[in-house]
Symmetry: C2
Subunit: 388 residues, 2 copies
Amino acid sequence: LLSDTGLATAGVAAGIKASGRPDVALMVAERAVPVAALFTQNAFAAAPVLRCREHLAKTGGLARAIVINSGNANACTGAQGEADALAMCRLTAELVGCAVEEVLCASTGVIGVPLPFEKLAAGIRRAHGELAVSREAAKRCLAAIQTTDAFEKQAGGSFTHGAHTLNVAGIAKGAGMIEPNMATMLSFVAFDAKVGPAELSQAIRRIAAGSFNAVHVDSHTSTNDSFFLLATGSQEVAGWEAHVAEVSERLAWLIARDGEGATKVTRIEVRGAENDATANEIARTIAKSALVRTALFGNDPNWGRFVSAAGNSAHVRVASEVSCVLLGTTVFERGEPTVFDKAQLSRALSQTDDVRLELQVGPGPGRATVLTSDLGYRYVEINAEYTT
Amino acid sequence: LLSDTGLATAGVAAGIKASGRPDVALMVAERAVPVAALFTQNAFAAAPVLRCREHLAKTGGLARAIVINSGNANACTGAQGEADALAMCRLTAELVGCAVEEVLCASTGVIGVPLPFEKLAAGIRRAHGELAVSREAAKRCLAAIQTTDAFEKQAGGSFTHGAHTLNVAGIAKGAGMIEPNMATMLSFVAFDAKVGPAELSQAIRRIAAGSFNAVHVDSHTSTNDSFFLLATGSQEVAGWEAHVAEVSERLAWLIARDGEGATKVTRIEVRGAENDATANEIARTIAKSALVRTALFGNDPNWGRFVSAAGNSAHVRVASEVSCVLLGTTVFERGEPTVFDKAQLSRALSQTDDVRLELQVGPGPGRATVLTSDLGYRYVEINAEYTT
């Protein structure tokens, strides 16, 4: 839980969501701490994303507080949206007693609708009044960042390094979009080690590459996707990055698991490519194929789809160098089908929500792993039936 | 019909398909005629594709006959598959009385299963015996290239240019894959004008760019995709390319319409990009989004998905330059939502199978159109329920 890293948190219901569920969250550190963040590359980046980029540039990667609302993405909302994002930070800064640049913000929910700012402001005030470094407060904070997630996503752990204990905790809001245009992924990971802003902003790219940036649910990046990484500690702890990466990978897995209507997560591991970048492209080509994702939903060990999806990448050129292993069973070897028990493998697929699909594509050193969710009826229902 | 272009055709049931439906087709010209072809770029290109590439290279773009089977793709079948593809051409060459290089071949159906060659050979012999330049024969030929298409795809017309009449006829086998691994698109377009092989092989790229290469159903190119263009005539006819392009575009539209479980075809037109290539990339990014395609299935005028899909392209950078028009209604203008009657537009979407989605992305001269099918329950059923 975030409280293990020393953060004070809060979560309240401010009436932004029609359901009356919690929708305003606040995280406050004892002092301004190093924060790195990665944001959507979408041209329609939401107002809070634009605001955060500006604040992080001004502070050089420090923040005291993060204020978040769910139920409304404040995206495609024009000049009013930008003013609202600033006002949201300004109010939080006044309450916390810090510079406005030391406040970051995030929003998730419906696109294209102005924020109900009076409700939000009242919620921020109430959340500030309830701030606490406690497990209960951390749970309320987690609840308030959800939109239509099927389950809450958190991960963390305590890791002992010599005399030091490192606490890492993360929460995320995933790819559930029952209402149209739910602007999607938010992740917050904190850990109580001392790390400088420059080091943190380099590490976040490596960590995201193996976690949040390795998830494919939709071939569609939302306007609000944000990943914040906070270093709240005052002591240096060697080896922190591996633990933070592990927690981030777990959160990413949970996001894929909650991909809309997903029944399983498939780890697509590509080896033998020319380099890691081409391995990544091959893995993404497979992860994006609707034919691959429906086969996984159907528990179908359909190597033809996996292999021909790989063959669609410009980086797979020699068919006879390609082998494919599904859940430990070799289904295609050096360019030709193998003999295997399809019924048994199909049964094995139906009995796990963590599928491993390995592709050897050549003799090269390049390797990459991406995660994808399967594509089933629920995905269509969720995304087609809820007409605006 | 292909017979209008002077081709002798045949289609017979040889027992390759368990259903007993027609599965061997033959097209024979009076003499070796210029043929251009485009094939899948997939690394696992099927044996008939490899064979055709070799024959066309040897003849410099001439062919006398094309022999086709459905029910088996002869893909991922190794050395035996390559021998079978050659034997298929050799038998046809003997029967027709031409060089083996003057015979092209195509297969469509299940991947990874050896061709039942004796059945196929008997079918080719019988088809040769039934060759005729007649509408009935052309219909049998069309029937024999189908696999699980919901309807037969043909297009054509007669066009008068001064003293000349140009006949254009095309048939296609589309993206229906009820059985797993159905290796997909085959298209054959013939026209009775005189065109040299070099001119033909340049024209086919332009024609395909606006037709078969503009269709997106799956983000997944099959191992067997082939488009053959035959110039059967002995008289030069000016302006033939526009008519052949028109017929090819109609066939491509029919293929998208028969996208698995599709209820409509959406033409995504992007304008204002830096150049045509970037416009094409933007249009493809939108066409590939599962969120866009499910919204279309749900008749949901969900501009947030269309616009944010465009925003995922690296070539869309200035949100305030983007406008979006759906079925003639402006739903997003210069970076901001418009006010429109959602219920009415949703109704209009539900009443057509030919949807036009226009995106203006900037002030540039680049433009492109791609076609996509929508993504509904039937797609999942077709692709998930038929376990190997």
